[in-house]
Symmetry: none
Subunit: 554 residues, 2 copies
Amino acid sequence: SRVIRAPRGSQLTCKNWLTEAAYRMIQNNLDAEVAEDPKNLVVYGGIGRAARNWECFDQILASLKDLSSDETLLVQSGKPVGVFKTHENAPRVLIANSNLVPQWANWEHFNELDRKGLFMYGQMTAGSWIYIGSQGIVQGTFETFVEAGRQHYDNHLAGRWILTAGLGGMGGAQPLAATLAGACSLNVECQQSSIDFRLRTRYVDKQAHDIDHALELIAQHTAAKEAVSIALLGNAADIIPELVRRAQAGGMRPDLVTDQTSAHDLINGYLPSGWSVEKWKAAQKDPAQHAALTKAASQSCAVHVQAMLDFQSMGIPTVDYGNNIRQVAFDQGVKNAFDFPGFVPAYIRPLFCEGKGPFRWVALSGDPEDIYKTDAKLKELFPNDKPLHRWLDMARERIAFQGLPARICWLGLGERDKAGLAFNEMVKSGELKAPIVIGRDHLDTGSVASPNRETEAMKDGTDAVSDWPLLNALLNTAGGATWVSLHHGGGVGMGYSQHAGMVIVADGTDAAAERLARVLVNDCGSGVMRHADAGYELAVETAKKQGLKLPMVK
Amino acid sequence: SRVIRAPRGSQLTCKNWLTEAAYRMIQNNLDAEVAEDPKNLVVYGGIGRAARNWECFDQILASLKDLSSDETLLVQSGKPVGVFKTHENAPRVLIANSNLVPQWANWEHFNELDRKGLFMYGQMTAGSWIYIGSQGIVQGTFETFVEAGRQHYDNHLAGRWILTAGLGGMGGAQPLAATLAGACSLNVECQQSSIDFRLRTRYVDKQAHDIDHALELIAQHTAAKEAVSIALLGNAADIIPELVRRAQAGGMRPDLVTDQTSAHDLINGYLPSGWSVEKWKAAQKDPAQHAALTKAASQSCAVHVQAMLDFQSMGIPTVDYGNNIRQVAFDQGVKNAFDFPGFVPAYIRPLFCEGKGPFRWVALSGDPEDIYKTDAKLKELFPNDKPLHRWLDMARERIAFQGLPARICWLGLGERDKAGLAFNEMVKSGELKAPIVIGRDHLDTGSVASPNRETEAMKDGTDAVSDWPLLNALLNTAGGATWVSLHHGGGVGMGYSQHAGMVIVADGTDAAAERLARVLVNDCGSGVMRHADAGYELAVETAKKQGLKLPMVK
Ligand SMILES: NC(=O)c1ccc[n+]([C@@H]2O[C@H](COP(=O)([O-])OP(=O)(O)OC[C@H]3O[C@@H](n4cnc5c(N)ncnc54)[C@H](O)[C@@H]3O)[C@@H](O)[C@H]2O)c1
Ligand SMILES: NC(=O)c1ccc[n+]([C@@H]2O[C@H](COP(=O)([O-])OP(=O)(O)OC[C@H]3O[C@@H](n4cnc5c(N)ncnc54)[C@H](O)[C@@H]3O)[C@@H](O)[C@H]2O)c1
């Protein structure tokens, strides 16, 4: 079985740094430290791949090695299909993954094509070669908590606590993110093995023996204004209602309530109340028990959501974290299940209105020092952004690099270009050992239409309009991003999303500086435009402040 | 009510000829000679619009007037939403029309957004500003009929007759194309105004009083081997079944059966049997009646398709002409609706494999002489292409210009760039009075995924893969086309297609020559690539002969 690792250092394998960047990043996506299942080319997100198969992977590398600075490689669902003449300011790679004509855009048709070797699931950053490991989810969760703190607690989360459940693959980022945001957290998890894993990797600080102990620890650490995370073994469908009863009786109240159990999958994702984990695992493996399991899990979700609603009615901010638990409860008869919002309309959309999203960059040198230098540069560029400083410090301290050293942080319109140009200067001056690759998630301000997630409940009802991500990709191509991708079905599955990726290389040249100045403004500018068009005041203001030209926005 | 007509001559209104071209072409799309319903901004194809509303239209013109040579205007479903900094070799306009996330990609959701003023149907060349009236489709239809004659009647269409319906924007080309191909035709159309328009523009020769008279005329002209076209006022859902009954009873039989009513749009495109045109128009405007209208139209389509199937079972060649009527009938329970093929697999795909498709150009001067000079230039460039010479002669003689003088002819890979560069030279030398706008339909070799039409029955089963048109749009944007568009739902309606438009201006500069050389090769090259990837030998050969770089094609 092959072991893939991107080349490091300042020596070129390809003809120039733009193609070298693509050459290294596709390999970095498949680094054993980065990818979930590299031998099957799977990067993350179930079956999100970097290339269709090994033959395609090898040919992508060969084509990139050979590519001139006036040529562009086309990649169609992980297969390199053509090389065409373009020009120096055009992207070097254009990618389209997993796109299907709508009437055929379902898993059944996808699987049929996939089985025949004709297709590939690109997820978001898997097929567009800018995945950087679990740092991404920690940061996104951190931003969500910080924004909640800004909205509800005047930016002060010290002495506050977050109540949630689920310490799985994504949910496990919650305690660390809460700590980085300055809050305590109580994390209910029904499997000791999940808690052990998070304790071992320092994503959670301590485990409580029982509810009383948990509340004692929370009381103690919030009083001391220490941001400590507590795990509690138990079933959320029992513990959350019990915490409601105590709060109603004058006990402690959480300051934010959410949940990341896998309620979207009622067979494998949510332990029913009263069931042991052993009974649950056995039922998962036995199709004859699936109906009963689904029913029991659904009923428990309804109880769980009712408890969340109860907290909300006490005036405590409560949000769905994208696991579909509201829908499950609604289907069980909890008529007002959707009274609490999803996390995007609640916390992320205001950031999107300012063009803020998961900006990220990677040091092609492979040297962590290059990232530390860019960390320092960012603090220098934004001296008053306290959460940014805190994030950068804690990320350096708490989050291990996976593959090529990388950093993520949410920057907005007017900030990303500043950062990109500064990095380019550092490459030019030799301060950094090799060029920097700049990219972002497809979950970003202007790059996605996904009505059950990123574009849930848009103000004007345009949740499903996918003109916007298509325009985003065309604009980034026009501006001269280094590679641009258009994907379908990422995050929420076939039929439910359309989104675009963008990566641009700071190779220290003046030409790169011009491209960075354009693309990093346009990319998030198009997100501010999309939100201004939907009627968000904050986006309209941001557009005005940043001097965007939006012809129909008054 | 406003009367729109594009400016003519060599005087600039905008800052340069690239934006001037867009400025004139959007207006030309709405010229009363060109558009089906200009006062509602409808160009053709049911409700295919050039701009979302008049306010948007005015602002598009204003933005184009102001646009610099390093700026790009973004248009989202007919609304000008942003102007961003790009560079001289980037497109001046990027357009995304009617795109919806697949699960929401249906007429119901479209209509909801459209009613609220949040959306627009772009059809193909309506929303991408390169519609040139019925001429645009004449040659395609001509080629189709000629190919049908070659396959079924040993190249002799004299004394044969074609039965069809629909004399709208595109369908109106059928009688003239049949005549040019040497056949008689009977054209059923439910609106007298559509017939009048075709009579006036010499696209149809005569109108019959009723069925008997129509068949009498057909009998007379086929006997005399005269290629005469007959219009008949009536509902195809009544008349086609009646013609079946007569044929079954020993009456006259058509030699080819097809249809171009707008069955892809069940609210605006297909008159239900038993309904008056007045009742139909009123129901179109009243959302409360849309469900009933859709139902009635669908049922009539089912009857219509059943009659076409009946003709087919008599051994008469029968094809779907890309209006999705088979799908409508199938959904209504006509299980074998897809027994007759679409016209693309039947007649057009071999042309696509050579990169051939509906290349077109427009003289911005407004002077017909400019077109005649380009006609002559083409004959000079391709001295041995007899069908091309014959086409150009017939077109000049029989086809009236609508709006700005324009010409269409199907050219393939290696031919389009030759033509484009020659036109650019003619502009440079002053032989032509003003620049030439070069474009094509979205129905082309590399620009569309539409499983019920252009990509029906692809050799490898990738009919529904829409990566290809997305890559086409990205590549043309990268290459420097003047405007690029991405549309959904054209031709076959919401949910059934994804396609891309491309327009490039020959303004006589050296920079334009470089862009033309790239874009006109890449645009149809990407179509040859798509067909080679699907395993068509002719496309593989074409790619080799033309020196395309296709990494995975051996
Ligand atoms: N919208 C977003 O951006 C976003 C991001 C991350 C995750 N999510 C959603 O969050 C959910 C969690 O994702 P994940 O990757 O962590 O899933 P996962 O399956 O890896 O983890 C779920 C965890 O919940 C625990 N659990 C199940 N039932 C429980 C119960 N009744 N009480 C307490 N704990 C219970 C499980 O033991 C497991 O550890 C998913 O539904 C996912 O789709 C959404
Ligand atoms: N395959 C191709 O190359 C191709 C090209 C263009 C259009 N088309 C398809 O052909 C169809 C027609 O296109 P168009 O631009 O002419 O549309 P259009 O809407 O301009 O014209 C449709 C015409 O059909 C008539 N009609 C509607 N219902 C009728 C009925 N029951 N009986 C008789 N006549 C009826 C209307 O009055 C109208 O004149 C569309 O579905 C389009 O997508 C296919």
